[in-house]
């Protein structure tokens, strides 16, 4: 992924650094030559719900580009959780999966709060959910904000609900 989207934010929260700069196209389709030039140190290949044969195909793709540093270091990771690309209540889990792969040596797993649980009142029906940006004053938490729909009609009756990732690395400097 490029910059300026929630996947890039989650990657940053998980202590990763995108090889593509901020302001680049959000979801570019880049070929292998560009990959070789970008020199990624680790690759998180997201294959949500992919069948085994699709995973095998992805592995064949990476195996055929031996000069990419991530392949030399054996750091191509395949994630197959269904929710990987959903900008929904699992974003915290996504950041956690990323952090596990990117910092396997770190004993301290990032503590995540799936944002949907932040403000949500249990009696609220889901379709009335109104999303807003998370705000917190706790500096240990890096906040990701992403575009959500706003349902103005129901806003007054249900109140705002945060739906965003807030993941803290216990030692952010180490990342």
């Amino acid at each position: 992924v490029g910059g300026d989207n929630f996947m890039n934010d989650l990657l940053t929260i998980a202590g990763g650094e995108n090889v593509l700069p901020d302001g680049s196209e959000s979801y570019p389709a880049i070929d292998r030559e560009q990959l070789i030039a970008l020199k990624p140190e680790a690759v998180l290949n997201l294959l949500p719900g992919a069948s085994p044969q699709s995973q095998q195909k992805a592995q064949a793709f990476w195996a055929a580009a031996p000069s990419v540093p991530a392949i030399q270091n054996g750091r191509v990771y395949y994630l197959t959780e269904d929710y990987l690309l959903w900008p929904g209540m699992n974003v915290g889990n996504v950041a956690e999966r990323f952090a596990e792969k990117l910092h396997p040596e770190s004993q301290s797993r990032p503590s995540t709060r799936n944002a949907a649980s932040l403000n949500r009142k249990p009696e609220e029906p889901q379709r009335h959910r109104v999303t807003e940006a998370c705000l917190t004053s706790d500096p240990a938490f890096q906040i990701s904000q992403f575009n959500c729909w706003q349902d103005k009609e129901h806003r007054a009756s249900t109140g705002p609900l945060c739906l965003c990732a807030s993941v803290a690395l216990q030692n952010p400097e180490a990342a």
């Binding site: 389709a29 880049i30 070929d31 030559e33 070789i36 069948s51 095998q56 195909k57 000069s67 690309l85």
Partner: protein
């Protein structure tokens, strides 16, 4: 337009010329990359990367253009292209089926030994199944009539496309880049095992030799059925042979590239401008043109992908469609004005 008599020596010369010209073009295509660098790549990996893609583009272009010559001749229809008989949509549909989790068990059984049958092999199978259905439905008492074939082909294409979209709606894939919709527009695959490339190349090479062998009879088949028969051409048998071989060649190309549009339609017409309507002359030139043009189109797609420009590698099918369509119209209108 035909100037002098056709002879095997001329054939050999035109084949040699075609190889040389497309080799020069292919070498030029090696010089441009998707990172914006121009010149001979310093990195060996980058070189082999570009070599792979240029060779594949040449193979696919050559296959589509030569199949296009044969389809246009045997169906007596200048608008015939290699995708008319359901090959492309059959391959696309099966390539999509391959990705679905429901196919896992089946693919493991066919593939055996913990390996899954590859997507390209499955797409090839799909192309053959689809074109076999077209032949089955279109043949009457063992004979194929061009008009029936075209209609059945159009309908099978439409049904395949509808099944594809129906599956896509039912499965509800997220619309990710490189997802199922990317299969609908042709692009050169970068995940091909060497074996698949080799299999496709062998299939195209054998098919091409057979098509060249049939080219003389195809020239006569451009006349009406009765005239061709009077010239000693067994027209019904020829039609079967030519269509089956051209479909195999197309299937081999489509299974490694997806449906890349317009190459199979335009290259025969371009070649026709130069050497006239004789398939024996047309086939070598159109093949070389197809190889060169698709390699060039792919190189152009890579240049357009420079991070500064678009960032995204365009599927080459987008480019051939965008450039090929208007260009074809231009040819058509110019021809009309001259008449």
């Amino acid at each position: 337009v035909t100037a002098s008599r056709w002879s095997p020596a001329r054939l050999a010369i035109s084949i040699a010329l075609g190889i040389v010209v497309s080799a020069i073009l292919a070498t030029l295509c090696l010089l441009v990359g998707s990172t914006g660098s121009v010149g001979w790549p310093a990195n060996r990996d980058v070189l082999s990367e570009r070599l792979d893609i240029v060779l594949l583009a040449s193979l696919v272009g050559a296959a589509l253009a030569s199949a296009g010559v044969v389809y246009q001749a045997i169906l007596r229809n200048p608008l015939a292209d290699p995708y008319l008989l359901g090959v492309s949509t059959g391959a696309t549909l099966f390539a999509y089926l391959w990705e679905l989790p429901a196919a896992t068990a089946l693919l493991a059984v066919i593939g055996g030994q913990g390996q899954y049958l590859g997507q390209q092999a499955f797409a090839f199978l799909g192309a053959l199944v689809s074109v076999a259905i077209v032949f089955l439905l279109a043949s009457r008492r063992g004979r194929l009539e061009p008009v029936t074939l075209l209609l059945v082909g159009v309908i099978v294409n439409a049904v395949n496309g509808a099944i594809f979209l129906l599956l896509n709606a039912v499965v509800k894939d997220p619309a990710t880049p490189g997802g199922p919709l990317a299969l609908l527009v042709g692009g050169l695959q970068q995940t091909l095992p060497a074996g698949h490339r080799l299999a496709a190349a062998v299939c195209v090479a054998i098919g091409w030799a057979v098509m060249l062998y049939l080219a003389g009879a195809l020239h006569a088949a451009g006349l009406s059925d009765s005239e061709a028969s009077a010239l000693g051409v067994r027209i019904h048998r020829l039609r079967w042979a030519a269509l089956v071989v051209a479909s195999l060649v197309t299937a081999a190309a489509v299974s490694v590239s997806g449906p890349i549009g317009f190459v199979g339609l335009i290259c025969p017409h371009l070649a026709r401008l130069a050497v006239g309507n004789d398939p024996r002359r047309l086939l070598p030139l159109a093949t070389a043109l197809g190889a060169g043009l698709l390699a060039a189109a792919d190189a152009a797609a890579r240049v357009l992908a420079r991070p500064g420009a678009a960032g995204t590698t365009l599927p080459v099918g987008v480019l051939t469609g965008l450039v090929g369509g208007p260009f074809f119209l231009l040819l058509l209108l110019r021809g009309r004005n001259e008449r």
